[in-house]
């Protein structure tokens, strides 16, 4: 384990932890990693493990219950603190749609944010055939994770897998794709290159970042720059935007033979595909051992966030419990929520939060009534 790295990889839930282990395996060098799950069986000897909600769930898993997983993660959030010494950026892998991946990720990322550690989340979205229930569970938590994380990349499993009729193969391909993306991102951060991307530059980029999308592509051969550029532009993973792209992070990973013209070709291709007016950040990695003869590109697109949206109020910051969501502009108060019972008396404010507002509303808990 690279104890000095300012970047920590955190796997949440069974699938998220498996993806994190794949990243470590693919990276091939020591890295800081923590696995976490409500199911004690996910723990293993060769990686630190945080059992979420041991007292609450006895290590048996959340049974697909998002709320239980959230409460479990909240119970155990402080257990992560011992792994955060010197950490400047957390990279979180998770699978949305299940109990722990959906529920715990938000609480863990929120805890990191409270400690001043920005988190980049890479998560999968369930296959469409998995049904409305999982999709709904995912959708509810997805927007909350987006709010809590500095950047969150959600990859629909449908898009990650492509055409594949075998379930085992589909799942393997999905998590390998996710792991490949995270690994390339990790290499961008950890490996030297002409244009270095480190944790501090990422922190600066992520400040005020909105919803994010990511894709990776690899190509070799004579026209490898053109091929990889076209693959990125056509990637279905980048096609799910709902707002204009505000900034682009383009990571180019190659061997010693990477040419300036190739970098230029890739950068131009991405600007052509996603907009010339947005902020463009480029980083390169030169790793002959891993990328000899080929080029891999990691593309991260950040949509316009809250900071770009017009303010409706006088600009004064609302109390934490009444803050508007960063994404949809929807009030934190769910429909039907009532605080008027206490509206005529002095509010109970604790650490900036109005405790008169129902706790489940402030915590954005979706109840299955």
């Amino acid at each position: 384990m690279n104890a000095k790295s300012p970047i920590l990889l955190v796997g949440v839930g069974g699938a998220g932890s498996a993806a994190a282990l794949k990243v470590r395996e693919a990276f091939g060098a020591p890295m800081r990693i923590v696995l976490s799950d409500t199911d004690a069986a996910t723990g293993r000897e060769d990686a630190p493990f945080v059992l979420l909600g041991g007292d609450r769930l006895s290590g048996r898993g959340s049974g697909g219950d998002t709320v239980q997983a959230r409460l479990a993660a909240e119970d155990s959030a402080k257990s992560f603190d011992e792994h955060l010494d010197g950490v400047r950026l957390a990279v979180v892998t998770a699978a949305m749609g299940g109990g722990t991946g959906s529920g715990a990720t938000y609480e863990i990322v929120r805890h990191f944010a409270e400690l001043g550690v920005p988190a980049v989340v890479f998560a999968t979205i369930p296959f469409s055939f998995e049904g409305e229930d999982r999709q709904r569970r995912c959708a509810g938590m997805k927007s909350m994770v987006e709010d809590a994380a500095s950047a969150a990349f959600f990859a629909p499993l449908d898009d990650l897998v492509g055409e594949c009729d075998n379930m085992d193969e589909a799942m393997r391909r999905a998590y390998e794709s996710l792991a490949a993306g995270v690994t390339l991102f990790w290499r961008l951060l950890e490996k030297p290159g002409y244009i270095r991307l480190d944790a501090e530059r990422v922190r600066a980029m992520l400040s005020g970042a909105g919803r994010a999308r990511f894709a990776v592509a690899t190509a070799s051969g004579e026209n490898r720059a053109g091929t990889v550029s076209d693959a990125i532009a056509r990637s279905p993973l980048l096609a799910h935007g709902s707002a204009p792209v505000r900034s682009i992070l383009c990571g180019v990973l190659a061997g010693e033979d990477l040419r300036l013209s190739e970098i230029s070709r890739i950068a131009d291709g991405m600007r052509d595909a996603f907009g010339h007016s947005c902020r463009f950040e480029l980083a390169t990695v030169n790793d002959e051992e891993t990328f000899s003869g080929k080029i891999s590109v990691v593309a991260m697109l950040f949509e316009a966030g809250q900071e770009d949206a017009p303010e409706e109020s006088s600009g004064q910051s609302a109390p934490k419990g009444q803050r508007r969501s960063r994404r949809g502009g929807q009030s934190a108060l769910a429909p039907g929520s009532r605080t008027d019972r206490f509206s005529n008396v002095e509010p109970t404010v604790w650490k900036g939060e109005n405790l008169d507002i129902p706790t489940y509303v402030r915590r954005s808990i979706t109840l299955e009534i």
């Binding site: 009532r338 005529n344 109970t348 008169d356 489940y360 109840l367 299955e368 009534i369």
Partner: protein, 400 residues
């Protein structure tokens, strides 16, 4: 007759009047008590004076109907007022006296105590209590009885509990309009501690959480002294409001769900997956069902948050690890299912329901811990006013 006292609490959920008789030692027997649901009181603040007066009149009438042990009708002229609400604060203050003659005398101790009563308070604050803690003689602290010790300067640490004078006056006005004179206003949480804790617990370190409708009072004791007290403006009314919001029920329905069905611990057993019936409140309102797990989750989130706030307050004062005797839960909220277990988890301390231990006459009450504050007020009255002359007016027309 002077060992009979009354205590009134105009709370968010209910208005309570209790009458007690002093017994040998510090024990009190509650001879009769009455309560009615309060109306238009939010977080312990009266929003409708007429309603508050009517509530006091109602409990007075109820008490008057009841017979004391001798079969006499009671007419009450005055009562001690039990107050709660987040306007109540506690601040440390030190009384000081110069020791005359080099050895501490009773007069020196009285002078230090007198000095400790002179903490300047803003005009809108009213002192409820100045609770003595330990003495410091020159640089030697933690002295419980300095009489006869040698030194020059004697200091007495106190905890000054004070409240918004306007809130106290509102209660006074409501009571006086009901022809009930109010005596000393007393802080509910310390009253509850008087009733629920014994001396050994106070010495070993104990915490009382008085869970009212509009707020939760706390009183922490270490080495026999009250070391921290205060109020968090979250109570059972918040739990009910959360339930009403979550399940779109009336407040009364939510109140019923809270007390009859909800549990502060979300279980994973079969029962927790069941559905709970919410009866219709009127012929036009059909009964409906809600998920028990969702109900328990709403309650768990609220109470867990409340306990975490209290834990943080105690941790910030480095008190939590001094509380060895555990926590006593008092007030109407103490009866909430699973709250004791949740508190044990959240505070990491043994927790029990704070049934008044030094009080007789509440054996048949459905939730004796809900009377801890008024019972403690009766104990205070018995301790401080028994056999003192000039209290003949306490009971107007007693045995009339």
């Amino acid at each position: 007759m002077t060992n009979i006292h009354a205590a009134l609490e105009i709370g968010t959920s209910r208005t309570v009047l209790a009458v007690g008789e002093g017994r040998p030692g510090e024990r009190v027997k509650v001879t009769c008590h009455a309560e009615i649901p309060s109306t238009k009181i939010r977080k312990s603040q009266i929003l409708d004076m007429k309603q508050a007066t009517r509530s006091v009149q109602s409990v007075l009438r109820e008490i008057e109907k009841q017979k004391d042990e001798a079969g006499n009708s009671l007419g009450i002229g005055n009562a001690f007022l039990v107050v709660s609400g987040q306007h109540i604060k506690a601040d440390p203050f030190q009384g000081i006296a110069l020791v005359e003659g080099g050895k501490v005398s009773q007069a020196d101790m009285d002078a230090a105590a007198s000095s400790s009563q002179r903490m300047p308070l803003p005009k809108d604050r009213e002192l409820l209590d100045a609770v003595s803690q330990a003495y410091t003689l020159d640089s030697l602290g933690g002295i419980s009885s300095p009489k006869g010790m040698s030194g020059h300067t004697l200091k007495l640490d106190t905890l000054q509990i004070h409240a918004d004078a306007n809130r106290i006056n509102d209660a006074r006005t409501a009571a006086e309009d009901a022809h009930l004179e109010l005596r000393d206003p007393l802080f509910a949480a310390t009253c509850a501690a008087d009733a629920a804790l014994d001396d050994r617990e106070r010495r070993d370190g104990a915490l009382v959480l008085d869970l009212g409708g509009g707020s939760t009072g706390y009183a922490a004791y270490c080495d026999g002294y009250l070391v921290a007290a205060g109020v968090v403006g979250v109570g059972g009314d918040h739990v009910s409001n959360d339930i009403a919001c979550a399940f779109q029920t009336t407040h009364a329905q939510a109140e019923g769900l809270k007390m009859r069905e909800a549990c502060a611990i979300v279980g994973l057993d079969k029962e927790s997956t069941a559905r709970v019936t919410v009866p219709g409140f009127s012929p036009l309102m059909e009964a409906k069902t809600v998920s028990r797990r969702a109900l328990d989750t709403v309650v768990n989130l609220r109470l867990k948050e409340l306990l975490s706030v209290i834990r943080e307050i105690l941790e910030s004062r480095d008190l939590l690890h001094h509380i060895h005797a555990g926590v006593a839960l008092t007030g109407g909220g103490a009866a909430m299912k699973g709250l004791d277990e949740l508190a044990q988890r959240e505070l990491g301390l043994p927790v029990r329901i704070g049934t008044p231990a030094n009080v007789d006459g509440l054996e048949d009450a459905a939730n004796p811990a809900s009377y801890a504050a008024v019972a403690g007020a009766l104990m205070y009255a018995h301790r401080n006013y028994e056999r003192k002359p000039g209290l003949g007016s306490l009971f107007r027309g007693l045995f009339r």
